[in-house]
Amino acid sequence: MKPARFDYVRAEHLAEVHDVLAENGNDARVIAGGQTLLPMLSMRLARPKVVVDIMHLPQLQTIDADKGTIRIGAGVRQAQLLGWPLLSDRQPLLAAALPWVGHAQTRNRGTICGSLAHADPSAEIPLVLVALGGTIELSSRRGRRRIAADIFFTGMMSTARSEDELIEAAILPARPTGSGYAFQEFGRRHGDFAIAACAAVATDKGTRLAVAGVADRATMHDFAALDGSALDDALDAFAWDLDARDDLHATARYRRELVRRMGRAVIEEARRCRA
């Protein structure tokens, strides 16, 4: 299939992006890496009237690490972030999860913020943001705002972004000293969307587990210093709370089992990394 017709604007200023979005509302789509939008256009799941390209704006192409945070601009491609020499030191969880986002060939074009905008329930990048308590920075003609990742994702492929807003950056906390991280994913093939993916963050306050691919969005739960069968019970309750569904790839029951097993494995690994 071929896309339906649309106008194309290669934005040269940020204001141009805001104008196109404000003036066209739901008929406008941002194009970043195009790795999700192009399939949607070709299958005519999306039929925008205008597509605005944000990949020629130098101010969106920066990775800024300072004061305990990492700010990743909307123009930063997944491969560029993976190639950032400080990544595994500053944010090891993201470094562990990124290689699971599609294939090298799609990471060369796909962006971090594009994945956040699309909000696929199986996607790794939203999972990492939720696990770490990251923030999404949105901008429009009306101004700028920041919103916490766990309330930004509102359901299957839906977010708190308004039609006129651009995701301008993703903001992550840098690794605090004495924290431990772990990531695991289960899928049919490496590079496929996850059937389930788990990320754990262990700090002195406790351990957080976040899960993608099971509920309609990445979902997290804080586990106190539980161990042994108490941890198994807590994981079991969490797995049920996720309200898993059967689909073509796996049954709900299978997904719950993945949460119990991978959840336990990443929690233990994150705690070990911390020690």
């Binding site: 017709r5 106008d7 194309y8 290669r10 192009l38 070709s42 205008v50 060939q105 060369n108």
Partner: protein, 173 residues
């Protein structure tokens, strides 16, 4: 940039295989169709047209990427290499292509152009890949004929041969 109107064709200029080329495209035209239909470069194949199979993979601005997930107008001003650029001269194959031939790394050949372009880019950046790295990298391609083992063997052999050569002679020697 002015808004490119949906119903009109617009001039797209880019460097393809070292040559400056230009042709017209509607904003919705995929780069695969632009290469094949407007420029006549039919070496780039189209399988799934939604990013999954890898047949359309080409070198876009120095990295392997899906031509079917790129609009021609997005590529305007960019630099592209396609499978047509690999052979150093008519009647001679590149080291990687020769390795594919020796190892029967293709049968129908539908997937081959994409895999060659992916590997050609990859082996520049990583002259000594491990088998595990190559396997993961080739995961971005589907081949319905070979079962992948001959492709992996060809890639490993080509990597070794290319690595032995001096850098300036690499790949196109």
């Amino acid at each position: 940039m002015p808004r490119l109107n949906a119903t009109q064709r617009h001039r797209v200029r880019l460097t393809v295989n070292g040559r400056q080329v230009e042709a017209d495209a509607e904003p919705r035209m995929l780069l695969t169709d632009f290469l094949r239909h407007e420029l006549g470069l039919t070496g780039t194949h189209v399988g799934c047209e939604h990013g999954v199979c890898g047949a359309c993979t080409i070198d876009i601005d120095g990295v392997p990427a899906r031509a079917c997930l790129t609009l021609a107008v997005q590529a305007d001003g960019g630099t592209i290499r396609t499978v047509e650029s690999l052979a150093p001269e008519p009647g001679r194959l590149s080291i990687l292509q020769q390795a594919f031939r020796r190892h029967h790394a293709l049968q129908c050949g539908f997937c081959t152009a994409g895999i060659l372009m992916s590997l050609d880019c990859y082996l520049r950046d990583r002259p000594e890949p491990t088998e595990a790295e190559l396997r993961e990298f080739l995961g971005g391609h589907l081949c319905r004929c070979t079962g992948y083992t001959p492709i992996l063997k060809a890639a490993l052999e080509a990597a070794t041969m290319l690595h032995k050569k001096r850098p300036e002679e690499q790949l196109h020697a």
